[in-house]
Amino acid sequence: MTTHHDTSWAPETEPAAPAPITPADVADAARLVSFGLQAKLLPARDAEYAELVRRHREDPPFARLADAVATGMGLVVLEVSPRAGMAVAAAEDSLFAVRMGDYSRRAASESTDRFLHGLAHLAVAAMAFPRPEDLADDGYLGRITVNGIDSFVRQACRRLEEQAAADGDNTDPQSDAPGLEAAWRVWARRTATGATKDARRLSGSTIGIVAKAVLFLVDSGFLQKVSDDAGGTYRTTARYQLQVRDLAGTAAMAELLDLGVVPVSDGTASLLPPDTGDDLVADAGLPFHSL
């Protein structure tokens, strides 16, 4: 597997006297990769890490060596920079990859739960980077809340429900073909939250599912907790932006294209398509726009 770092540096014009690679160099390269595996560690907090990141940027042969070590271990190097450190992601089928079955036992057997957990992660990303520019802008810090994500998805579901109702479609799934049920209905009919005996979050509820996703992302060094407001408020890290932009987004998009869905974007945000016309909330009594 190659990354842009392999090709970004200029070809060596001076073939004379390339410094021989010593075992110490390999050890340093591997050390840098091991720093990269500690996702919560930042170069700003560790002098040795900062020094290795600097060397990676200034010493192309060392950079190639570190990238090769990472690739050999089944890692994809997303970026090596002072802000993100050595941002590495697990390659497909890598030893480091997270599997849905390990993530949630229920999701291993239930396809609806598998979908809900995946959608929760997608929704976290969509809320963290609501506009295409946000995902592209390296300086952007997203801010999300657990409850906010749930209501955001519910709102999107409600919108689809209203659309279906307006089109006169019966979205109640056929009893003998549950796989044909529209995806939004699965989220909409799952309870948002629920009382439990031990005052913890109900793990099967959508808020519980979002909270699990968010906590997992905190452990991955992708989110940082800000406060306990609204079920937990978090902000994104540079690594999360890289991961979503360079890997997850494109992977999911490829699957969608494979399914024959071709979402077209002109580069502007479509999260909030303007409501024109007379699409008022039915029975609201007030002419508020349905969103």
């Binding site: 969509a126 209501s151 709102q155 549950p178 997850a248 726009h289």
Partner: protein
């Protein structure tokens, strides 16, 4: 959740008339079929209530005496009324208010059983056992080709929502309100006006029982109205850019405020009317009903005021959000539109396909985990380490050093005893303070001071305390204007006496008041 099948469909691709399929079709048309589906769904919404009574035999214990459906309806009622603009109803409050009804159904049973019944009914209406915490009913329709299709209808009666404090609150769904009052899925505004006009007429005619019913219905509508508005406001809060800030929203808020002002005037008029009815009513039953009506209408007014506050707050909130978002610098490059290109299309897919993109996003978007590897040597150490003993009791409390406080009382216990004996007057023979002082002075030079103190204290007897504690007699002192001639004390020569209190009557009063 709205009932989707309510929408009339275009006849569209129907089989040509006279074909075998169309002839075999029992329903005269898609409209009739949909009407049937709508009624089936309405029927399904009542099923959980019937189910309560069917399932009570399965409870361990003797629960036959409880009318579970009644408790269930009462619970939906309580949740609906307790629903606030921001949060839902508090679970414990609902259970506590449900308690009297449950207890009345089986007065001989222990309180713990009553509580258990309340909890069971509420949990059943939430359907705690299911992962969705909702209900599912199956109904059949004919599709466009005339084939019979069974469909799943998912609904909730009481749903649990997160509160601002992190707690879990209850809200009734539209379906539940429909089950409760029936036919509420009409235009809220017109329904409310109709209810109010009806209420006014009923009050004028003095038919308070009917008026109360109408007022309660009006309140349900008010709640439902606030609920829909809350949803709309919540949505607009999240979504500033979707809103036409130049014209639409300011107009809408103005319109809404006019609307509330109008309603407010109307309800105040009703309130005046009922108050008059309440005050002029001769019959206690009428009086009581009128008083209840006053409360209900007051509650309606309170809810309108709350709604109005929210509307007034909406403007500044939009402006603040607008500023925040307008001044964010646009990015140079363009990335993926996660919502428009991923999330929204995924939600439209059937579930069996939607799993693929979400699965791909999960696999690539969750980060990495370093696998744990254990050395056998470490494992042995780890397993052989004795567990750390937990400190259950916490740190030991030091014995406090107690210092005996010196007894600096002005009077001794014996003196108090003597003074109380002196003041233990028969209820029919009050005495002058001067006489008491003289008698006290005979016994002890210091005693008159104590007697005078107690007498002055009795000038303002603690009636409230005596009433609450159910005491039988109370010392009192009255100043009739006679000056006190004494070598040590000055002031009024008080008349000191004992008053007998009606302890039994007071106890009964207390019970009534409580």
């Amino acid at each position: 959740m709205t009932v989707i099948a309510d929408q009339p469909t275009e006849p569209g691709p129907r089989p040509p008339a006279g074909s075998a399929v169309a002839a075999a079709r029992p329903a005269p048309g898609p409209a009739a079929d949909e009407g049937l589906a709508r009624r089936l769904k309405a029927l399904a919404c009542t099923a959980p209530l019937h189910d309560l009574d069917n399932r009570k035999v399965m409870l361990a214990g003797e629960y036959g005496g409880y009318a579970m459906a009644e408790v269930g309806l009462a619970a939906i009622d309580l949740v609906t009324l307790a629903m606030d603009f921001d949060t839902g109803a508090d679970r414990d409050t609902v259970l506590a208010r449900l308690q009297p009804r449950v207890a009345a159904q089986a007065p001989g049973r222990p309180t713990t059983e009553h509580q258990r019944v309340g909890r069971w009914v509420l949990d059943s209406l939430i359907n705690v056992g299911s992962v969705d915490r909702g209900f599912r009913a199956v109904y059949g329709t004919f599709d466009a080709e005339g084939a019979y299709v069974r469909r799943d209808y998912d609904f909730k009666l009481i749903e649990e929502v997160p509160g601002p404090d992190g707690g879990v609150y209850l809200r009734t769904t539209d379906e539940a309100v429909n089950v409760l009052v029936g036919a509420l899925d009409t235009d809220v505004t017109s329904a409310q006006i109709a209810a109010e006009v009806k209420l006014e007429v009923l009050i004028r005619r003095g038919r308070l029982a009917d008026a109360q019913l109408a007022a309660e219905q009006a309140r349900y509508r008010t709640v439902q109205y606030a609920e829909t508005l809350r949803r709309a406001l919540e949505a607009t809060r999240r979504n500033v850019r979707a809103v036409d800030w130049m014209r639409a929203i300011p107009d809408l808020i103005d319109e809404a405020l006019d609307h509330i002002a109008d309603r407010y005037r109307h309800e105040n008029a009703i309130l005046t009317n009922i108050r008059k009815a309440r005050d002029e009513a001769e019959e206690p039953e009428h009086k009581r009903r009128a008083a209840e009506l006053v409360d209900i209408v007051k509650d309606c007014i309170r809810r309108h005021t709350q709604l109005q506050t929210r509307l007034l707050e909406a403007g500044p909130l939009f402006r603040a959000e607008q500023d925040r978002q307008a001044f964010a610098a646009p990015g140079a490059r363009s990335g993926i539109d996660l919502y428009g290109q991923l999330l929204a299309p995924v939600l439209r897919l059937p579930i069996e396909q939607a799993v693929r993109p979400t699965g791909a996003f999960f696999a690539r978007g969750t980060g990495l985990r370093t696998p744990v590897s254990v050395r056998v040597a470490d494992l042995v150490d780890l397993l052989l380490t004795p567990p750390v003993e937990r400190e259950h009791l916490g740190a030991e409390l030091p014995d406090p050093d107690l210092v005996a406080t010196p007894d600096d009382s002005r009077f001794t216990e014996e003196q108090l005893e003597a003074a109380l004996v002196l003041l233990d007057l028969p209820p029919d023979a009050p005495r002058r303070l001067s006489g008491l002082l003289a008698e006290a002075r005979d016994q002890d030079a210091d005693l008159p001071y104590l007697v005078a103190l107690l007498a002055v204290h009795a000038a303002s007897p603690p009636v409230g305390t005596a009433y609450r504690q159910g005491e039988e007699r109370l010392l009192f002192a009255v100043d009739d204007g006679t000056p006190l001639h004494d070598r040590e004390f000055g002031g009024a020569d008080l008349i000191v006496g004992s008053a007998l209190l009606d302890a039994v009557g007071m106890a009964a009063d207390r019970k009534d008041a409580g």
